[in-house]
């Protein structure tokens, strides 16, 4: 069986600020990041779907202790966003000073930033190359 949407395809799209996911042809579930089999119904017939990159912040943390090699990034804000299409996704909130982020951001609408840099974690000795993550900013 073919894997419908690979990490490499997902990652390359995200670098261009396009968020890809899958739709299940059987139960219509929207899924991201990609998987082989629909977790909702167990079907394997999935189609690639471009997602809006818009949604609502569900939770967050401002991280002060970064992993080895990423110390210069701290402090930074990690968020989990419920996309308008349904799935939750982890990313960073970038246009707000981490020093002032508090629980008031939960429930706020965000969208993936269009022109914000540093989306790509370049990888380290323990990574299989680089990996992109969504950067979110508040919807104006």
């Amino acid at each position: 069986m073919e894997y419908t949407l690979t990490f490499d395809e997902y990652n390359r799209a995200l670098k261009k600020n396009r968020l890809l996911g899958l739709t299940c042809t059987k139960c219509s579930a929207v899924i991201t990041p990609p998987v082989m089999i629909c977790p909702a119904c167990g079907a394997g017939d999935l189609e690639v779907k471009e997602l809006s990159g818009r949604g609502v912040i569900q939770t967050f943390t401002v991280n002060f202790v970064a992993p080895l090699g990423r110390e210069s990034e701290a402090p930074y804000t990690v968020v989990m966003v419920e996309l308008d299409e349904g799935p939750w996704i982890m990313g960073n909130l970038v246009d707000v000073d981490p020093a002032v982020v508090n629980m008031d951001i939960i429930g706020k609408r965000v969208r993936m930033g269009e022109t914000i840099g540093a989306r790509v974690f370049p990888g380290d000795a323990y990574s299989a190359g680089d990996a992109c993550r969504p950067l979110f900013q508040f919807e104006k």
């Binding site: 990041p33 939770t59 943390t61 989990m80 939750w88 323990y126």
Partner: protein
């Protein structure tokens, strides 16, 4: 299935960085457990070992084979388990299954880790490997970061003001430190106050230093035996009466139940069903308190308290010795320490000694008959629950 008992148990003192190798640490724990079982290494028919990061901390892969030779059990099948922080619990569960199946009479299970030896930056990096490396680690998420996000979500979902939740979480840590004071094997031997917790530095909002367990080095080992083979070896048999395990994918993929950990609900249900008991029957539980919020979340998923109410229960002493359910009389991961590959076996060590009434009187749960362990790996990726019963 045959009846399976825990025969001998042992744990090294959990510590910060130290000089003993992983093989040496496990050899210490296992020789003590074998001696306590009144058998010899030659009686051991298989080794099931938890070890998650031996390759990163000392460049040692496949440590289980070197251990088997080292402790006088050459040639036996030796398996290593990686379920992050739940590695040793997977090892104990599988050992239980192999003895129950009739294949083996005596199996050594346990775990070893030198997490503190790695130092905080590398340990933080390697612990983050238990998150989704390709889709979530790029965001810079860490192990504390995961539970920090669950804490904010918990406050929102159950409408607990963050200030109150932080006090409740601090109370969890204070209780764990207090129990650890009386545990000579614990890494932390100091008492802290709610004020100490709330004034410690921030790791990942809203979690502060004293909300987080330490990185630890240590090992724990247990000998499992068939009831029949152990008949003449002990008059205090502790039966394994239930075991459950479950898995989960990336944190964001668990959206339908967070901040509850669904894999824990599946795993504990499987354990309760096998044991034929419910949460109300459990007298003492060693649960996975890698962070103070983790205790609140775990105790609710295990069925001890209603969702959103466990912080209140802790503040009322209901999770303490003498309360509704005695939680983490060992000091838990918070105070006893968290050498991840050994943690699950150390929980079994504590529960067995509690049921045998062998722990220090200050932290003995009086008359405990049924005990439970709860071990979580990563973001809930691996969950193992086991239930033990006093057999005399």
């Amino acid at each position: 299935m045959r009846n399976v008992i825990v025969l001998g148990v042992a744990q090294t003192k959990f510590t910060g960085p130290q000089q003993k190798t992983g093989v040496e640490l496990f050899a210490e724990a296992s020789s003590e457990a074998i001696a306590a079982s009144r058998i010899t290494p030659a009686d051991i028919q298989a080794l099931f070992l938890g070890n998650a990061l031996g390759d990163f901390c000392e460049g040692q892969g496949m440590i289980q084979a070197f251990i088997a030779q080292n402790i006088g059990c050459p040639g036996i099948p030796a398996n290593k388990y990686d379920g992050a922080c739940a590695s040793a619990s997977m090892a104990v569960r599988d050992a239980f299954m192999w003895v129950a199946s009739g294949q083996y009479d005596f199996v050594l299970a346990g775990g070893v880790e030198r997490a503190a030896t790695m130092g905080t930056p590398l340990a933080t990096r390697t612990f983050a490997m238990f998150s989704d490396s390709r889709y979530e680690f790029p965001s810079g998420v860490t192990f504390p970061g995961v539970f920090a996000m669950l804490a904010h979500l918990y406050a929102k979902r159950y409408d607990v003001p963050l200030k109150l939740l932080k006090e409740q979480m601090a109370t969890v840590s204070v209780q764990s430190y207090r129990h650890g004071m009386h545990n000579p094997k614990a890494q932390m031997q100091k008492e802290v106050t709610v004020e100490d917790v709330l004034s410690s530095f921030t790791v990942a909002t809203p979690l502060q230093l004293h909300d987080c367990c330490p990185f630890s080095d240590g090992a724990a080992a247990i000998v499992l035996a068939s009831e029949k083979a152990a008949e003449k070896l002990t008059d205090k048999p502790v039966y394994v009466i239930g075991a459950g395990q479950a898995s989960a994918g990336p944190l964001a993929g668990q959206k339908d139940t967070l901040p509850r950990i669904y894999s824990r609900e599946l795993s504990s249900k499987r354990a309760y069903e096998m044991a034929g008991i419910g949460p109300e029957d459990v007298d003492v539980c060693e649960l996975h308190d890698c962070f103070s919020i983790a205790s609140l979340i775990a105790s609710e998923s295990l069925g001890f308290f209603d969702y959103g109410t466990s912080g209140d229960a802790w503040m009322k002493g209901e999770a303490d010795i003498g309360g509704k359910i005695a939680i983490n009389p060992s000091g838990g991961l918070k105070s006893k320490g968290h050498p991840i590959g050994a943690t699950g076996a150390a929980q079994v060590y504590e529960i067995v000694r509690q049921l045998r009434e062998e722990v220090e009187s200050e932290r003995q749960v009086p008359g405990a008959k049924i005990g439970m362990t709860d071990t979580l790996g990563g973001d809930g990726g691996t969950l193992v629950n086991m239930i033990f019963k006093r057999g005399w």
